[in-house]
Every structure is written in C-alpha cells, then in structure tokens.
C-alpha cells in the first residue's frame, strides 16, 4: 500500500533570458525563482490498483514518481510504501519496484537483449530458477522469442518497448511505474503493451502507476485516475468522474465527451493548470 501525506517539494531554478545582452549579464549574476513542484500532495493507493496519473507538462508528475521510487527526497510530508520510506531505505525499496521510462532505455545498445537481462539478473541477485521461470513467462506473454538474441539497436521501437517492460519485471516487483510506456509506438505494439500490463496486474496483483499523455492508455488500463496540476491533486476518481467533472465545468454536450482527449483538454483549461 502506498500512502502519501502532505508531500511538498520545491526547486530553485535559474532564470534564463534570451538575447545577447542577457547572456552577458548572466555571466556575472544569476536570478533564481522558486517553483513549487508539489504542494501538499496526499493520496493512498491500495495493492493491486491500476492508477492513471495525469496532468499537463510540469504539473509535478515526474517529481511524484521520483519521490515514490526513492530517488528524490521531499521537503516535507510523509510517504510510506509497504512500510518503507522510499528515500530512506532506497536500496531495499528499489528491489521491490520496477520502472519503465518510455523515452529512455535501460537496455545495452550494442549487445543482444538477453545479455542485458542476464546483467539485471546479477544486479537484482535473482536466483537462477526464479529468473528462468520469469523469463519464460515474460517471453511468452510479450512474444520475445524472436528478438531476445538481437542487439537492441536493431529492434523497432515497439519491440524495444516490449523488452523494456520485460526488463523492469524480471525481479518481480510488486509496484510498477510506467512513464509514457506507449509513446511513439505503432498501433499493434500499443495494444500489446496495454494488454500485457493488464495481464500482469491480474495475475500477480502488481500495483501499476501509469503516467501518460495518451488518453487511450488511461481508458484501457486505469481503473482510477489522479489528475494533478500545479503540484496539487485536482481530481481523484474513476474515468466517469473525470467525464463528469468536465461536464460540470463546461456546458459541453454528450457528444464531446466521447473524445477523452477533449475531456482532459477541457478540464485542464477549466482548472486553469496549463
């Protein structure tokens, strides 16, 4: 179970202005501004839930994920995941989580995928039988048989993403973070990845937290949606609740609601968080 209570996080960011004069000035003096990335954020997520975490760029999504995965320490507030404080027991904590970054790769570029997997086996100290079982299972579910022996650089984006997802699950994490897992994928791969995520959630009760800009991901995967804007939770509920919120804030017609992108865009605009 994940509980976040009143978590705050702010950053100091150097201002940078365009122009030759400004660039020269910046040589000597710099101005900073404070950005409140998270402002008293609280939520609870039960084991086995699948949560879509959405919000416009810069809303605080990645700060939340970083705090939950133990690589960022909040300014204040508490966060407990299965009895662990992520940033305090980082090494212990990360054993139990898996993270997929859609825009980055954790596979070695020039060597066969299976070699990257073997390396992960060492890193997470996975026992050989356990590793073999898991690999077998993942290979079947994600149809990796053909591509395991191929160097990552020769894989298509869709194939690579399937491998990335598999790599994040080799150590059987109880909690899986997916950061834009379907970005840039073709239709077939998107469906495969979504389908797979639902499957592992069903079979292993893996808790899934998904951040994405693709509303279809949310529609298919997430049972619950958390909408964040300007560092605060603005909405926490089902997809229907999201639709209602959009309806209440705007005199939209039922027709418009069919398009989820439209619903979210309206919400962002109405909540003034863009």
């Amino acid at each position: 179970m994940i509980t976040m209570e009143n978590v705050c996080k702010s950053y100091k960011v150097a201002k940078r202005n365009a122009g030759f004069g400004e660039a020269c000035k910046a040589l000597f003096r710099r101005e900073y501004e404070v950005i409140h990335a998270l402002n008293k954020l609280s939520f609870t997520i039960q084991d086995g839930e699948m949560v879509g975490y959405i919000g416009p760029n810069g809303a605080g999504k990645s700060s939340t994920i970083k705090i939950l995965s133990g690589i960022l320490t909040p300014d204040s507030g508490t966060c407990v995941i299965d009895g662990r404080i992520p940033w305090k027991n980082r090494t212990e904590h990360v054993r139990h989580i898996g993270v997929v970054f859609g825009q980055r790769s954790q596979l070695w570029w020039d060597i066969p995928v299976i070699d990257s997997f073997e390396l992960l086996k060492e890193i997470y100290s996975i026992s050989t039988p356990q590793y073999n079982n898991k690999l077998e299972e993942l290979t079947q579910l994600l149809q990796l048989q053909e591509i395991l022996k191929t160097p990552t650089r020769q894989l298509s984006l869709g194939q690579r993403m399937r491998c990335e997802v598999a790599a994040s699950l080799l150590h059987e994490p109880k909690l899986l973070f997916l950061d834009e897992p379907t970005i840039g994928l073709d239709a077939v791969s998107k469906l495969a990845v979504r389908d797979f995520i639902r499957k592992i959630n069903r079979e292993h009760k893996t808790t899934v937290i998904l951040t994405t800009h693709d509303m279809q991901d949310i529609e298919v995967i997430a049972e619950r949606v958390i909408l964040i804007g300007r560092g605060q939770i603005l909405l926490d509920g089902t997809l229907d609740a999201l639709r209602h919120a959009a309806l209440n804030t705007e005199d939209g017609t039922a027709e418009e609601q069919i398009n989820l992108d439209r619903v979210v865009a309206d919400l962002y605009r109405k909540l003034n968080i863009l």
């Binding site: 030759f20 660039a23 020269c24 040589l27």
Partner: protein
C-alpha cells in the same frame, strides 16, 4: 555572400551562450600557457640559453597558441557537422540551394573566428598581466604585425581546408571519429602545436616543412615573435597559398565523390 555571412552570425551567437565553458577555457589556457612557459624557462637554463628560439619568442609563441587555440587547432570539429554526417541529416543540407562545401567552409570559419575572438581577449589580457619573463611580447614591428594578420588568415584557410577534408573522409568510412582521432593526432605534432617547429632536429624539420601542416599556425606565430623574418617570409606565404589551394581543391573533388555516394546509397 550574404547567406554565408548569416551562417557565420548564427554560429557566432551560439558561441556566446556558455558562461561556465568560457571560464573553464580561460582557466585551462592560462594554466597550460603558464606551465609551458615555466617548463621552457627550465629548458632554456638547462641549455645555457642556446635554444633554437630565444626565450621571449617562445613565450609569445606559447601565449598566441593558447589565445588562438580555437582558431587553429586541428582536432576540434564542428560537432553539428559531424552529427549531420553520422545521423543522415546531411540530406537536409543538400536540399539547400547552396554548395555544401562552401556552406560548411563558411560555417567552420565562422565557428572558429567567433570562438577565438571571444576567447583570445581574456587570455591575452591575463597573459599581458603576467610578470616578466612570462609575459608575451608585442609584435617585433608594425610590419611584422601586419604580416602576422595576413598569414593568420591564410593559416586559418589551410587549417579549415584540411578539416573539411577530414569531414568529407567521414563519408567513406564506418568510423569517422576513429579516423579523425588518428589523423588529427599526427597533425597536432606536425603543426607545431606540441613544440614549435624550430625545436625539431634538422632532418625532421625539413620533412615537416614539406607538409601542409607547417603552414598553419606555425607561420603567423613565428612572424609575430620575430623568429620568422626577412627573406624567409615570402616563400612561407607562397606555400600557405599553395597548400590552401591544393587542400581546397582536394576537398571539393572529394566532396563530389561523397555526394555521388550519398545519392546512390541514400545517405
């Protein structure tokens, strides 16, 4: 011409952006310059002041080398151009209604001149504040200074023409970075960047002076400090022009070949 000027300006503006990089470069060059001056001081004393160049000329040479490093070094390449070659963006360049060779040439010159102008002022300023004898001298005469400027232009021409050849070579190999390293590694020495050419033993010096690399920074720097003077200057300038023409021509021909290759193979 205006188009090339715009390329030059674009690159110039990009160069101003980095502040930490500027400070780093200044520190690095000051440290390098000073350490070399100190080392040659010890060497001058060891040799009983019978060095092939007199000590004050060496000091000027060293500081010019540090101040104008961005202008004359052979190893720094425009990373954007290298990137374009590696990732295939070169196709965009070929869509522009300009000769790619001239475009890249002006771009490289622009990049080097802008960086050198920005960097040489603080380096020279600090260098002139150094205590005697580690302070660079003024040009030996007005005439020498004028010739220094003139030969510096030719030297830049030879250097860039050579760099262009290296860029173009990249089209014919699977390992552009590797070739670049091998080529520039050897040339670093032959252009007098490690030790000035007069320090080469006679035989080696003769060979080095047959190659184009001796007509890069070597000529202007030694004119400035008076080591190259009088009747030795005109032949040096002629050889600079000769090598500039030869390398440019070679570069253009090589580019023609590369272009064919790109069209055939699709980049």
């Amino acid at each position: 011409m205006r188009k090339y000027y715009l390329f030059f300006r674009l690159r110039f503006a990009a160069g101003v952006q980095y502040r930490m990089a500027a400070i780093t470069a200044l520190t690095t060059q000051l440290v390098w310059g000073l350490m070399e001056c100190l080392a040659y001081k010890a060497i001058a004393e060891a040799s009983g002041n019978s060095l092939p160049m007199n000590y004050s000329a060496i000091v000027s040479y060293i500081w010019l080398k540090e101040a104008l490093l961005a202008l004359f070094n052979t190893w720094a390449a425009d990373n954007d151009i290298f990137g374009m070659i590696l990732n295939g963006d070169i196709s965009y360049e070929m869509c522009r209604p300009l000769s790619v060779y001239s475009m890249w040439f002006s771009r490289t010159v622009g990049g080097r001149v802008s960086e050198a102008l920005l960097r040489c002022i603080p380096v020279l300023l600090c260098a002139f504040l150094m205590p005697y004898p580690y302070k660079p001298g003024l040009p030996v005469s007005m005439e020498a200074f004028a010739l220094f400027l003139l030969t510096a232009v030719f030297a830049l021409g030879v250097t860039v023409a050579f760099c262009m050849l290296v860029y173009i070579l990249c089209f014919f190999t699977l390992s552009p970075q590797g070739w670049r390293m091998v080529l520039t590694g050897a040339i670093d020495f032959l252009s007098g960047n490690i030790i000035p050419l007069p320090f080469f033993p006679q035989g080696y010096r003769k060979i080095a002076e047959l190659l184009p690399f001796a007509y890069m920074q070597n000529v202007p720097f030694r004119i400035y400090c008076g080591d190259l003077a009088g009747a030795d200057i005109p032949p040096a300038i002629l050889k600079q022009i000769f090598w500039f023409l030869v390398l440019t021509l070679a570069g253009m021909l090589a580019w023609k070949q590369a272009e064919k290759r790109i069209i055939v193979q699709g980049g």
